[in-house]
Every structure is written in C-alpha cells, then in structure tokens.
Symmetry: D2
Subunit: 286 residues, 4 copies
C-alpha cells in the first residue's frame, strides 16, 4: 500500500481494464493484478509462489507488499498460529456452532463467528498498538520507558480497570503470549514495542493491589507488540486475529454439523474434550 | 427493562425452563482442550507448535486430527495459497470493500465478504468433491475412468451447461489449477480424485462443441481433487476456500479504508493496479 | 416485480441516471425510484405514504407492487406481528445477544442473528409453500384435497419424520398459528393454501402413531399458507420471517448491552422473565 | 473427530469447566415471556395482539415496554416507513444484491446488507441523539437554544465539516425529513429535541459559507429528534434504521435473484426504474 505507482507497468497494460479514457472515476489498488490467465500478488505470479512460500509468508507479502525475511516469516507464522483456536470457550466459537446447528451454511457460521469479534473479544490488538505508539512517542520525547509506562497506565486504566493487552478470563499466565515474546527475542525481532510492553507489564504488576492477583500479558498484547515491531500499523491489528481464528471457527462449525443434533442448546460448561491426550511433537519437528 | 422482578410470577414458573434434573446435556469436542494456562490443539500444546509448525500445517492438524507429513504439509500450503486473493474482481471482494467504506468494522467487512461465497462463488469445491466421489464409486463398481467421466458429465451437465470445477469468468487456463495439479503429481500425492478429474477434463474438452472454446479446469476443481486425495470430506470443501481467501478480503478492506473516500461508488472496471511490476522470486526462495 | 415497464415514465427521465447510450449494461429495478429530492416506492412518494399507510401496508406495497386492501393489510400485519419475538429461546436470539455482549455493534448483532435463520429455524416457510403448491397442483389435476394431502405426507415425510410446517420445540399448540389461520378465515382471505394445510393437519394427526402426541401446525406453516393465498411466491417466504423477527433480535441485543456484563456465558435455561405480568389490551384497542 | 473418548483424560478433568455449585448464573429479561403454548410480549399474549395492533405499535411495545398512544403509534409508524427503501443507490442495497447474486441465501444477503450500516450510512441517528442530548443539557443549564446550537456546531463540526444529521449525497431537501418533522408537529409530539434541531438547522445554514449550498436536515437527523422526543435512548438509535430498512434489503435481494443473472457486475449508474409511474394515493387512504 506504500508502493509508487509503477508507471511503465501501468502504461504496458497493468491496468485491469481501461475503457473510458475521459472518466475520472479511476481508482488504484496495489494488492493483486489480474489479467487473463495471470494472478500476481504484489508482482509475484501466484502459481510461482505455490510450493515455494509458506501460507503465512504469502499473507505477509499480501498485507505488507514485500517478502518477509526467513526470521520474520517464522515469527509471523507464530503470530497466526498463536490464536488458531481456543476450544469451545469464546463467544465467537459458540456463535459459529449455534449458527451451524440451525442448518445455515459454513459461510454463514464463519461470518457470524467473525461478527463476535468485538471490543471485548479479539478487539484489543489495535488498542494496544495505539497505546504503545503513544508510549514510544513519549519515550522519543525524552521520557524513560518506565515513565512512559506509568503515564500510559494512568491514561488507559482510568475508564477500565484492566489495561488493554492484559488479563484473561481463563489463564493466569497466557502460554501463547509468553512463547510469542520469547520467539521475537530469540529471532532478534523485538524492538521498542516489545521493550515497552515488558516495562508496562512490570510496572503494572508492581502495583500493591496486584501483589495477590497479577495481571498477565495476554495474547492480544503480545501480538500487538510483536507486530508493531514488525511494522504493522494499528488499523490492521484486529485483522490479524480474524485471519488467525477463522480456521478455528470453521473447524467448530464442521464438528457441530457432523456430530451434534440441530438446534440443540449449546452449553459450554457441558462440553468435554475427547480428543487425543497430551502429546509431544516428534523429534523431527523440533 | 425497568420493571420490578415480578416475584409471584417468578415463583409461579416465570422461569423460562429449568428441567435438567438428570443432566444428560454433556457433549464432546475433539478439537482443542482448554484448561487454565493450557491450550492444546489435538493434544499438542499450542505454545510448543509455535515456531515449529507452519500455519498451514497447524490448520491441517486442527481440521484432520493428525500432523501432516512434510509432503502433505507442502501441498496443503499450496492449496491455501492458491486462492489467497484474486484482486478486485470477485463479488466477495467488492462487498468487503463496500462495507469497509461505509465506516463499518474490519470484522463486519470480512464477514460480509464471506457471505458472498455462495453457490456461484467459492461454492463449487463441495460439489466437485461429491461429483468425484460418485465417479470413484462407479469406477470401483467396474467402470473405466473414462466411462465414469462420461456418466458424470451426463448427470451433472444437464441442469447447468458447465460442470462444477470447470470454466472461469476471466481465465481460459487457470494458472493456479494447473500448478496445484502439477504439485500434487510431483509430491506423489495425486490419487483417484486427481486421476478422475483429469479424465473428466479430457472427455469434456473432446466434445465437438468445445473444440473452439475449451472449458479449463478451475481452481475450485483442482482443490476438490487434491483435497479429496488428501482425505478431506466434501462437507469441509467450501470451508477451505473461506480460510484461504479471508486474508484477501481483509487486505482489500484495509486498503479501502486507508486509500479511498467513504461511501464511494466502487466500479471494478475503473480499478487499475499500481503495485510493483511483475517480479521473480529470489533464487534463495526456489 | 410484475409491472410493465412504464414507457412514458421512462422516456420522461424516470431512469435513475442515463449517461451511456450505447452501453448494454443497463438493468431494471421496479421497486423504488430515486431522483433528487424524490423517493417513490412503487410510484408513491414516500413522504405521501408517511402518516397514511401502516408500516406493514408499505412493506406489502414494496414487496408486491400494489397497495393492499384494508383486509389484506390487516392480515399481513398479523403475519409480521406473529413472529416479532420469541423470548430468549431461539438460536438466533442467543447469537444476537452473544455478539452484542462481545462489544460489537448493533448491526453486527442483528446480522449474526439473521444468519442463524437456517433450514431448521425460520427456514420452513419456503418449504411449506412449495409443498402446498405441489399439493394444489395435484388437486387441480383431479385429486381430492385429502388424496393430495396423503400424497404430500408420503413424499415429504420419508426423509424427515416431521413434515415442514408442523411441530414445535416448546408448543404443543402454537397460539400464533391458530390465531393467524382464524384471522384469515374471518377476513375471508383463506383459499386453497389454507384449505389444503388444514386437510394435511387433519390427515397427519389421524395417523395412529400421532394419537398420543399430535403434531401441531406451527407458525411457519400458517404463514406459508396464509401468504400463499395472498399471492406471495415461495422464494420470498423465508424473507417474511426475517422482516418479522429483526426487531426482536434488536431488542435482545440492546437489552443485553444495557443490562448484562460483557462476555458472559448466556445460558437460556438460567433466564427468567421479569417484565410485567400477563395483562389484557384496553377496551379501546379491541 | 474420530478419536476414542480418552477416558482417563475425562476423569482427570477433561471437562472444560464445571463450577456452578451455588449457581448464581440467573439472569433477567423483560421482553417476552415464553411458556408452553404461551408467547407474551411485555405481558400481552401475542395472539391477542394479532389483528388488534399495527406492526409498528407492536415494535414500539417490544422496544419500550408500553403500548403507544394512537398519536405516538402513528408517528412511530412514519419513522419506520420513512427509511423503508432508497432504491439501488445505498451501499447496503448494492451489497445485499451482490451477495444474493452469488447464490447465497436471503438470510446471507440481508445480513451482509445490514453490515454495511456503518458510521457513514445509517449510523448517524445515535450520534445526533447524543449531540442533541448535550445541547438540551446546555439549555437546561441556562443557555438559549441558539447559544446551545452554536456551541454544538463548534464542538461537532471541527473534525468533520458536516454535522451529523445534515446533508445527503443525492437530496438537497430530504422529503422524508421534512415530512417527519411536520408530522411530529401536527401530532403535537415535537419537544425539546425537535426544537433544538430546528435551531441547529437555522444557525448552520445562516453561516455565510452555506449561503450558496445550504445543508439540509436529513432523515437520520429527523428520526433522531423525533425519537428523542418520544423517549428513545441513543443506544437504540441506529437500530431504528436497521428495522426500517431490512424489508428494503430483502426486496432488492429477491428482485436480484428473480430478474438478474448471477455474478453480474452491479453498476448502480446503469440501473433504470421500470416500475409504475408516479401515482397518488386513492382518496380513501387520505
């Protein structure tokens, strides 16, 4: 979305169709060029990408305009993988199942699930990104990270007791958030966003009232910091969660259709897990 | 919403229902186990998968219950990558842009785009899978692949002139379909579904009326055959397209919000591509 | 949708806009004409309708192209009113509440609720209309109503034990269905559809296995018969339920946002009604 | 989905959660009471309302908890009727048509259309209501209506040049808004909201820069003022537009399915109206 209009390309017929020379209604897209028998994502023929890029790398290319380095590709893969599914507990999953069970299509079930991503569910990534942006500006303006963190907590914890990016209904230590921050560090891709977020976490949990009940960093917060350091803008933040979770919604919708009677009452507290017991990845995968 | 709780009413059975004395409401899910500080997808802790699996491999694991082999992982990656985006031409993309441009959320824009996946758009994968299943049954019952193909074409081309899985509004040779079939062959993962589909293609295009205008295999058809051979059932077929395309819908919704005025008329024929000119993958990626 | 193109109107500029005389892309709509400072629904300026028609009459006009007679307006009002809300029991309502409670917009909550109208929920009206059409054809072909009813039950009860339009999860006698059929009769607007439906109901419940547990006519069945006699086609059948129920979905989404904590578990069996106790309409309303 | 229930896992707490010993999960709803063979909206059996209330009156009852007076019923009917349809020009209508044309269900088409109601489309009613609330507080605090209007315009026109509730893409005088304000006046139901809105309109258009291009009150603004005076809260404001327009979305989705080829390009500028020419209501309706 930040590429110069490639004038020669355009002159040579890159234009999708061109029929009305005097028309002022033209508009530009820099994502994908379509012509007969040609599909080029950000300049790369999609059939040349197939078999060569991972899906996450291709998503990164589509969203950002350039191929990721191998390290960035690996980290972005972990970002998408982190939120792939969260069992039958989230509202979005219950909604997708309820719609699937009423006899609607998979498209309807997934779409309804996506609509449950609201400000309380998957909607924190943009908020954390904007909050961290603000803190980084404070830091660039001369404040220490710790001062910036304190100011952020004052500003963003007045309305809501919990700052965006912290706390979870179920987890006291979100295993996905910890792993994602660690990976960013190992891959040397953590920058100002990650650093500031860690300071915010420390300052927040050094407050006396948190001594008994520390507020853990959650996966929304970790994605926001990691993707902020990767250069993603806040306006796409919540979208990363949507991409990540759609296969989860779909899997639940299909399981509901295949294994449950229609129109049933779906009580998440009555669910039990009957899949395989905990297992380890084979050595070859490590 | 401002009424006193009518106590007598409540006592007299105002409660809508309460009838689970024996509580037989338990239900099973085999996808993901959630406990405090634990998220296990099909038995694997998600934080152990992060950094070790590609996203496509994790999606495969979630949908199928087992890790894919490296070859299957590679092929399934290509399946998801093949339909990642198709520029501004599909109805779903126009819908996602129109909704994004009216000031609705990214969730709303993506959900509306997904709703445009109907029987004429992204809805052929299931149909092709069922059609090929039928043909494979015929083959197992003693027919040659060619006889099975002829029978399928008779049965499924009477209502619609184009059999599911063939033809495209824009392409006369769908580059994605060709590449996906080739990859399945190279990876030795093509089986009865792919074989039958190739025979159907040959029989279809040997019909005299196709001599001038051959009907090419499209990407829906190729995904159906490849995923049929991978063991996916038809009930999840259209879902694979949903997963694949959601990042495309999102990228267009974001581009619309960032670069276009709200509430504009979106004429796909006025769009031109101003991204990078055609380019090749670096050698290191091949 | 069945009006002749009004040629003089068209010549006089009824066309919404006209810029490309040689263009073959023109397409027609007969619903509403828009011009600067003019909004005409089926030829009637909407500002002249305001204060003069009821909303149901205007909906009827929009859908059918002509004003309803007073009796038809009254019956169609009852059709829309019959399914206005059904408390917190239907899947669509639970979905709308769950989405509202996740912090999404009212639009998202209502849309998600509408997506839960599937083949098992609000999706029977079209099916009943097509079934009754078939039976009326049989009758016109010489069968008695009773013979037609028996044939329909044979044909449509093989796959599903319950024919469309009969049975309800909660009601053994659906008070809305009974009232709607009675109103159609009082207003002398019941015709072949209603007559056949009553015969189907009688034949169905005279089967020995129904002696203990009769299957009552439900509101979907009654709407289908009444609207069939009003001349509505089956392709709009399920749409009548959508129109009718949207205010119900909205009311629940708003109540959820105003009175409940976000992200709560929504258990319909835990709900109790705390509104006003049963009351009668004032005499002036009868 | 084909795994044996892992019994030890289950015994060891595979159940996701089960923790309601004291069961404090009860929650209240005051909208509709459901019991076997009973459906009571705000205390009134729905079958007693059928044939006696208009649909708008029943919607008002559901949303507000009490029957409207005849005058309020008439005004609220006009509110719902005012936005019933606006031809093929709005984004929501184009979206509903595009989705209907891709072979998706009516539910999907209507839901997608509703999702296009965003901050730029149908999303102004809540904003105007809050703005007028603010002005009325200023008035109660001692300011004249004119001073309050000036302050509102200063506060709410800095970010956007157009204050919410004014201006329209097509109309220079919105006939629906004018008629609704007039009806409220005739029925003596206009109060502080309507009075303040009229003052805002006068102040706004007496600005020198508006001399040539006055900004007309639009229908969102009029609905906001009229419904504010009827006692509706801002949180339901945008919902009134959703209710009003759903039949319009549906009518377009059905017309698209019945009269157009699937997957067509939908260019609103190519549409022409071929319904009946302008006509007057019969005398009996006035």
């Amino acid at each position: 979305m930040n590429h110069d209009p490639a004038t020669p390309e355009k002159a040579a017929g890159g234009r999708l169709r061109r029929q009305r020379p005097a028309d002022t209604g033209e508009w530009a897209t820099s994502l994908t060029r379509i012509a007969q028998n040609e599909v080029e994502i950000r300049g790369y023929p999609v059939d040349e990408l197939m078999g060569r890029l991972t899906y996450s790398e291709a998503v990164y290319l589509l969203l950002r305009g350039e191929l990721p380095s191998p390290a960035i590709g690996k980290l972005f893969t972990a970002v998408l993988l982190s939120s792939l599914d969260h069992g039958v507990t989230p509202p979005s999953t219950l909604v997708a199942r309820q719609v699937a069970g009423s006899g609607s299509s998979l498209s309807s079930a997934v779409a309804a699930g996506v609509l449950a991503f609201g400000s309380y569910h998957g909607g924190d990534i943009e908020a954390v990104m904007r909050c961290l942006q603000e803190g980084i500006s404070l830091h660039h303006g001369g404040r220490s990270y710790e001062e910036a963190a304190r100011l952020l907590l004052e500003r963003h914890c007045s309305a809501e007791p919990t700052p965006p990016g912290f706390g979870h209904r179920i987890h006291t230590r979100d295993p996905r958030a910890a792993r994602l921050m660690q990976l960013a560090h190992e891959l040397e891709l953590d920058g100002e966003y990650c650093r500031l977020l860690r300071v915010v976490e420390r300052v927040l949990n050094s407050q006396p009232e948190r001594a008994q009940r520390p507020l853990p960093l959650n996966i929304d917060g970790a994605i926001a910091a990691v993707c902020g350091d990767l250069g993603f803008g806040p306006e796409i933040g919540n979208g990363l969660f949507i991409i990540s979770r759609v296969p989860g919604l779909l899997a639940h919708a299909v399981e509901e259709k295949l294994t449950q009677p229609p129109m049933r009452k779906i009580d998440r507290d009555e669910a039990y897990y009957n899949g395989p017991a905990r297992r380890r990845l084979p050595e070859s995968r490590k």
